[in-house]
Symmetry: C2
Subunit: 491 residues, 2 copies
């Protein structure tokens, strides 16, 4: 392990009082990422990229279990392909990075660095699908995309180039494409619940904020501790928009030619931004055991006369844990004192610290310290690996519970414009209110407090299609409400 | 599984007589890749991408075992960064794709789509390394790079965008950087030997054909069945070239500032091109069991009266193999006859076919057919999973042996210019000859028969540093020989 300099170790900013600066400091000091020389780009370092690999591993297994094949399409899309679907070109044109020269020659046609790949994948689907028996066609790729946004860079949250996976699927009819859209949303929700220790809300984007060309954009929203909402993943039912633009048709069982329905779904490294923002604290990063490169660090604490016994005992503990497939670091550095080591591993987010001193050796014990809250528990040496595994589950549960509390407290209702503005202004979080469906009413809120409608209830799921009852009026304009809207500031 | 149309199944070209067309046909009909709309680009389909994932999985495990951390650096490199190392800019400038516009705005500085990442990674290494204790710094990324070459596209072998991994490492001194360069060459060699069933030769590129800025470019060369050499992977000892250009220095144990030594090493999806070219035949793809998505296909062969018994028995066989972690397909399609199925799985390269008919059911047996040579062996039902595993090893050994025979027969010597030209012209393969070291003598051969020096012996390895004895004369110009050169046509 390379050693950071002492003065670099401490987090100096406050999560509560200067969230943005604190976040940037955690990302850099925990060695997750650095800023690249070009504005808007970052470098993901080994400790940051390993978290992304953890997400990849989980999702890839789920995708494979449900029939998805991984592919790789070119990173460039000819301008004429982008232009074939008008909503895509309108939606992404302002954000496209253009390649104009290859070597010393100007290209005959500009190439877009992919902002998303529907426009290059759908035409190939149309070659590969001929009959209804070829469905479903389930493709996914892990790659980077570029969107030339002008807003400030925030590592993982907002970068001009970002890593993501994009799934693209073709189906026989609306029902199966819709089921696919929901299946992927479910898998993303499982990732958040079971791997990232983050509860989320399910919904869909209002019509004016859908993915370009989509019929429905389903979304998972996660509430950050600072009261802003993070769009955690989206899954789009695209209807026949792209299939029509790229002639994705098939011969049905009755020998008639029909147009396919498509879906696309993606999750980016913004999920890592959410993970860091949700769990980290003023001591540094806090990682759930599911993703932590080291789940446990064993720190020996000795005086000159106890060194041999402590080191031997501590090393045995580390070896036992390793053998039980618990990812364990044994910090046996002589040149650092325990306090320094505690700080460093706290900064790096290691979920559980095991302290071994003369006392532990004598009593055949180990002291376990939970990273999230510092709770310290003395446990017996026998069966320690199993005990540690339980503590890791407890640490995960603590992280999830804290995030869940934040979410539960963060959903409020408002019956008037003033209440809506005041509630978001005071508390942040989500405010649920009846809404007429017009973008103008969202704009009114946006202009005043920079909050927007991050989601409305998802139709077609269990429970009522909408939470708004008859007779409700839009919280802004007073016209009859069409749905319930979740207003929030967002990342 | 989606079904290709019948007429698409057969390979019509001959590997021996029209190698290029045959190769393109295998790639497309085995559904590995398709041509993208932009010349020079391809789409890797699930069956092709899965092979790349197999390579990734193997190498990633080896890299991780030897301390490498995966990272992700931006796909763009500012022009000014490329220009800081003059050999890099000269070497790659003619092949760089340039991004000039972000959205509607022209960029102040052009961005190169990375052709290789030394120029963006080394400056960060210089930030991360401070003292000799920070070595070795071992980074790797899996990504795509773009080189705007004008030559014809050959899927996997030669594409303007290609997938690869690029390792970048920094070291205290020459010795450790050189050891790293060799360690990675060893790992690539193991990949070829143990996963791709391809023997290779180790060597280094002649001075005029090194990686831009490198001190030494070590290479693995694989001989294709058509007599051409494939550069299978390269590992570069970069000396202090990049460290000097990007100020990668460190404080040594004696408190003095010194310049680091760096290495880089890469393997691209050309390895898949070599795999296909080496093993496939006029029936289609042939995959080693190490990489095949399905290692075994079980095909039931029944008449109306035997259907139930055969299907039941065959399904049990498939279930048994699955349970033994053998990747098994059970082809129970009713609408296809066995002959069609045989052809299709042969086209897809499945290493082992198991035929189950009434005879096998009656005698409690299974008929195993090896893909490479069609050898058919009847085996008992009991312990079949273990037997099948042995047959898979045999199939691998057959593939390797055939490639090894080709390589052994393909290395010849020549003592005169005429013999050199004639031997390559007649047989292809490698011709070893004494060489003076001057590029002009290679050019003379290149101009005449389009062969080049693909490698010279690697220095610093076991055995003699060079094979050329004192008194040998350059096969072209007759001046004193400096080394032995391996001449060959190459991909």
């Amino acid at each position: 392990m390379s050693e950071p300099q002492t003065q670099e170790l401490g987090i100096t900013e406050s999560k509560e009082h200067s969230t943005g600066e604190w976040y940037a400091e955690v990302v850099r000091k925990a060695r997750l990422a650095d800023y690249a020389p070009m504005g808007g780009f970052i470098v993901a370092r080994p400790r940051g990229y390993a978290l992304w690999e953890g997400i990849q591993e989980y999702l890839d297994a789920r995708f494979e279990d449900t029939g998805v094949g991984n592919v790789y399409f070119p990173m460039f899309i000819p301008e004429s392909y982008l232009e074939r679907e008008s909503e895509i070109v309108e939606g992404f044109d302002p954000e496209v990075a253009w390649v104009t020269h290859g070597g010393y020659d100007e290209l005959e046609e500009r190439l877009a660095v992919r902002p998303t790949s529907e426009s290059i994948i759908t035409p190939f689907m149309s070659q590969w699908v001929r009959s209804h028996r070829d469905f479903p066609l389930l493709l996914n790729q892990w790659c980077s995309v570029v969107r030339w946004e002008a807003t400030d860079t925030k590592p993982f949250f907002r970068t001009k180039e970002f890593l993501w996976q994009e799934g693209h699927t073709a189906h026989r009819d609306r029902e199966s494409a819709w089921a696919e859209t929901m299946r992927r949303l479910d898998q993303y929700e499982d990732l958040y619940t079971d791997v990232l220790a983050m509860p989320t809300l399910r919904g869909r984007k209002p019509a004016h904020d859908k993915f370009p060309g989509a019929d429905t954009t389903a979304t998972l929203e996660a509430l950050m501790p600072d009261g802003k909402s993070l769009q955690g993943a989206t899954s789009h039912y695209l209807g026949t928009t792209f299939a029509e633009a790229f002639e994705l048709t098939y011969v049905d069982a009755d020998e008639r030619e029909r147009t396919a329905h498509t879906a696309s779904w993606g999750l980016s490294w913004r999920a890592l931004g959410g993970l860091i923002m949700t769990h980290a604290d003023d001591q540094g990063l806090v990682l759930p055991p599911t993703l932590a490169p080291e789940q446990v660090v064993v720190v020996p604490i000795w005086q000159d006369d106890s060194r041999g016994a402590v080191m031997g005992y501590a090393e045995e503990v580390a070896t036992d844990l390793d053998a039980a497939n618990i990812r364990t670091a044994f910090d046996d550095r002589d040149e650092r004192n325990p306090g320094f080591k505690f700080n460093e591993w706290e900064l790096l987010g290691t979920p559980l610290r095991i302290e071994i001193g003369p006392n532990e050796v004598e009593k055949d014990e180990a002291t376990l310290v939970h990273r999230p809250d510092g709770e310290s528990v003395v446990e017996g040496r026998e069966g320690l690996a199993a005990t540690v595994a339980e503590h890791l589950d407890t640490v995960y549960a603590k992280l999830y519970a804290a995030a869940e509390r934040n979410l539960e407290e963060g959903v409020r209702e408002a019956g008037s414009r003033e209440e809506l503005l005041g509630t978001i202004g005071r508390h942040g979080g989500y405010v649920k209110s009846p809404w007429c469906g017009e973008e103008a009413c969202e704009t009114a809120v946006k202009d005043e407090i920079a909050a927007e409608i991050v989601m409305v209830p998802l139709e077609g799921e269990d429970g009522p299609a909408d939470e708004t009852g008859p007779g409700d009026e839009c919280v802004i304009c007073g016209e009859p409400a069409a749905t319930t809207a979740y207003f929030a500031k967002s990342y």
